[in-house]
């Protein structure tokens, strides 16, 4: 069973779009997590299936 039932381009069952949801792009927590994630991928690379 699909979680999301797409009704139109920007409306899903159980998911609504709200301008009240703030962007966390500059949140220090997010920036730290992204740096850690980038370090991880740069260290271990990607699955072979994705690099062929």
């Amino acid at each position: 069973m699909a979680i999301l039932n797409k009704k139109e381009n920007n409306s899903y069952s159980g998911i609504s779009i709200s301008k009240k949801v703030k962007s966390r792009a500059q949140d220090p927590f997010i920036l730290k997590k992204v740096k850690e994630a980038e370090a991880f991928i740069n260290k271990y690379g990607l699955p072979a299936a994705l690099t062929r």
């Binding site: 979680i3 999301l4 994630a37 299936a49």
Partner: protein
């Protein structure tokens, strides 16, 4: 079981929902951020997830809420992944738990939904510094997921 109602912003990068349980209503945040990775043209997004910390107006993934709804919370995070990748089906989503316990929580959640919600995804886990196709009951330190090329929608 259904996921909690989710709200997202028009960019489909930030998601919020309320976990409801014995501890009350706990505001949860999910954020997808594009990563800068060397030697690839693939678009890879980091998935960050945690509780809203109103003191610091930030996200906190150290908190163990124990609101007795872990499966519903994971299902809701999965719904965010579905909504995000519906918009950008070619991207990879990377997840790394902040602790081995959290990582095991994610791994168990994925295993639970592998034949259902996540059936349309290729998922890889990193173990012993190597990537492999996802298998249940493995102690992964990082996970990558991408919609299968044949999936045209949810």
């Amino acid at each position: 079981m259904t996921h909690y109602p989710l709200e997202t912003n028009p960019e489909y990068l930030d998601y919020e929902f309320l976990s409801i349980g014995p501890k009350g209503e706990i505001r949860k945040l999910v954020r997808f951020t594009r990563m800068e990775v060397a030697d690839t043209s693939l678009d890879i997004y980091n998935l960050a997830f945690g509780d809203y910390d109103k003191v610091g107006n930030t996200i906190d993934d150290d908190i163990i809420t124990d609101n007795k709804d872990p499966n519903q919370v994971l299902l809701t995070v999965a719904a965010a992944v579905l909504a995000f990748t519906e918009r950008q089906p070619e991207v990879l989503v990377f997840v790394q738990g902040n602790t081995p316990v959290r990582m095991r929580y994610y791994t168990m959640g994925i295993a639970t939904h592998l034949d259902g919600t996540l059936k349309g995804f290729d998922i890889w886990g990193n173990i012993d510094e190597e990537w492999e196709l996802f298998q249940p009951n493995r102690r992964y330190i990082g996970l990558l997921a991408r919609r299968k090329a044949t999936v045209a929608g949810v």
